[in-house]
């Protein structure tokens, strides 16, 4: 018996379009819901609360005294402290010279102990060789190999190296461990090789502030690297900054440290969301009634603005990125303005984006404190706004076709 042929005269493309639109709409709505405040109260399976920095801030004043108190030494040291602390991500650093001492005011959310480590360490790096009269195998003095006093100084110190790069390398066991690779200035390479040649197979040491890390010289190795015991990324960052932020030439110590009042303003997240909603509604209502913009551009701009802000907030919430609430409101204002201008001014988009890119990138690298942080956020928001405009135009076009 022959079965009747079932002919399905169905065009699959519109159906797929429908499904795509449904999925995209669901994603849009999901991002808006995640961005809204208090989502965490209704969703128990994931943490959607905004991770604010507000309560994590602490502020302290450190007074540092030095052996050399001439203006140049103190200013050089201030530079090094500033580079170390800024590199570590300390939000606000101010340094002053007062009564031949350095006062450092710090306001940050970073780890207190690590910040103190960056201020208190001289981190004087020298390559040393074992003293011939010291018994390094003495069972009564098992720490003999660690003490700088048991070693002779050589002509080599940190200034002979271009930088010290910390990375993971394979050990002889086949495992990976962190090492500090000392990169020489090109002019000193041959001389250093000759120096190492004298100690092939012998243990020398790298003395850091009086504590030595032994290193058995292997002339077959192309790099000069010493192992680092820590695996903690923050600790490694501190090590890298201590190695690479400049050479401290004078001995120093922290004389005192005092807690200061934290005066970083905080804004309630619900108020910010309300502010964003009111601002968007008022602005687009005005644009709608004033008829200065075509309804098509207005719709695209409104959708892109809503998407930009909700995607950004959803991203911050999902990945638990700590944020400053007072900056969030300013970022929202600027993001709304940028999105609207980019949506409206086809002819100026390239120029606005180029100028903003140059200025924001410069501020990120050369600015300090909160200005650098807001520039970073605005760069992300401007790129996101551009992307959301493209998505919005595509989405509106697809919905219109349906």
């Amino acid at each position: 018996m022959k079965l009747p042929k079932l002919k399905l005269n169905m065009n699959v493309k519109p159906l797929l379009n429908y499904i795509l639109i449904i999925v995209v709409t669901a994603l849009f709505i999901a991002s808006i819901f995640i961005a809204l405040p208090l989502t965490e109260k209704y969703v128990s399976k994931a943490t959607y609360n905004l991770n604010t920095k507000d309560k994590a801030y602490w502020s302290q004043e450190f007074i540092v005294s030095t052996e050399e108190t001439d203006a140049k030494s103190l200013n050089d040291l201030r530079n090094i402290f500033y580079k170390r602390l800024k590199g570590f991500g300390v939000e606000e650093v101010s340094t002053y010279v007062e009564n031949d001492k350095i006062r450092i005011d710090v306001t940050t959310t970073q780890d207190k102990d690590l910040v103190k480590e960056l201020i208190s360490n001289k981190f004087e790096v020298k390559i040393v060789t074992r003293k011939s009269d010291v018994n390094f195998d003495d069972s009564n003095n098992t720490y003999a190999y660690m003490l700088g006093t048991n070693y002779d100084a050589t002509q080599w110190d940190r200034s002979d190296f271009r930088n010290v790069y910390i990375t993971k390398l394979k050990t002889s066991n086949g495992d990976y461990a962190n090492f500090a690779i000392f990169k020489l200035w090109p002019a000193g390479e041959e001389k250093f090789k000759k120096f190492l040649l004298q100690y092939n197979g012998i243990s020398i040491g790298i003395d850091i502030d009086g504590f030595v890390t032994p290193h058995v010289v292997d002339n077959t190795s192309q790099i000069f690297a010493i192992p680092i015991s820590s695996d903690d990324p923050q600790q490694l960052k501190v090590m890298s900054l201590l190695y690479n932020s400049g050479i401290v030439k004078t001995n120093l110590k922290i004389d005192s440290q005092k807690d200061l009042d934290v005066n970083v303003p905080t804004v309630n997240y619900i108020q910010i969301t309300l502010g964003i909603l009111v601002a968007i509604v008022v602005l687009y209502f005005y644009l709608f009634i004033s008829k200065t913009t075509s309804s098509e551009i207005l719709l695209k701009s409104l959708l892109a603005t809503t998407l930009t802000i909700s995607l950004y907030l959803a991203f911050l919430k999902i990945f638990q990125i700590p944020v400053d609430t007072f900056m969030l409101s300013i970022e929202a204002i600027l993001a709304i303005m940028v999105t609207r201008i980019i949506a409206e001014g086809k002819d100026s988009v390239f120029y606005i984006e180029l100028f903003l890119l140059i200025v924001l990138a410069s501020v990120i690298f050369l600015g300090n404190g909160f200005i650098s942080i807001i520039a970073q956020d605005m760069l992300i928001l401007t790129a996101l706004s551009k992307l959301c405009l493209v998505i919005s135009a595509w989405y509106i076009n697809k919905v219109k076709k349906i």
């Binding site: 910010i272 008022v282 602005l283 204002i333 201008i341 200005i371």
Partner: protein, 169 residues
């Protein structure tokens, strides 16, 4: 003046050099790019003047706030220059974009740039007032810095327009 000298002395050499490079990038690169794109020295001149005035006005406003109203320049106030320069860049970008899009048209003359500058200034003013006011009212802890940013931004937007009118005769 004393406050500026104190502020300058309290900066490390690293901060001074970085700030100087940043100012040079903003004051030279942006007008330079305007000149490269438009080949119009007048437009580059307007961009440079607007940026310089924006910087000076912000500095004077912060000094007045600190000296005459005895308000400590906290972290939020330090964001004011960023906001003002951001909006200034938007003004310069829209002006350059409009010129580049239309300068090859037959009936193009600088009056069109003036008219467009007015429209842009008006639109930006409305956007700024609505957005900043909504936020200022709902987030009272940063009310004053937000209002100062709004005031300065509006002044800069219209100074840019006045410069367009004056220099593009």
């Amino acid at each position: 003046m004393e406050i500026i000298i104190n502020l300058f002395n309290n900066w490390t050499t690293f901060e001074k050099v970085n700030t100087l490079i940043l100012i040079l990038i903003i004051l030279i690169v942006i007008p330079g790019l305007v000149w490269i794109f438009t080949k119009q020295a007048k437009l580059a001149h307007i961009s440079f003047d607007t940026l310089v005035i924006a910087g000076l006005l912000t500095l004077i406003t912060l000094l007045i706030t600190n000296q005459f109203f005895n308000i400590a320049i906290s972290y939020t106030y330090k964001l004011i220059p960023f906001i003002v320069f951001f909006i200034t860049i938007l003004c310069i970008g829209t002006m350059t974009g409009f010129y580049m899009q239309n300068h090859k048209q037959r009936e193009f003359d600088m009056t069109k740039v003036k008219n467009e500058a007015f429209n842009d200034a008006f639109r930006l003013t409305i956007s700024c007032i609505l957005l900043f006011t909504a936020f200022a009212l709902l987030t009272p802890s940063i009310l004053l810095p937000v209002l100062l940013s709004l005031g300065l931004s509006l002044v800069i937007i219209w100074i840019n327009y006045l410069l367009v009118c004056k220099l593009l005769k």
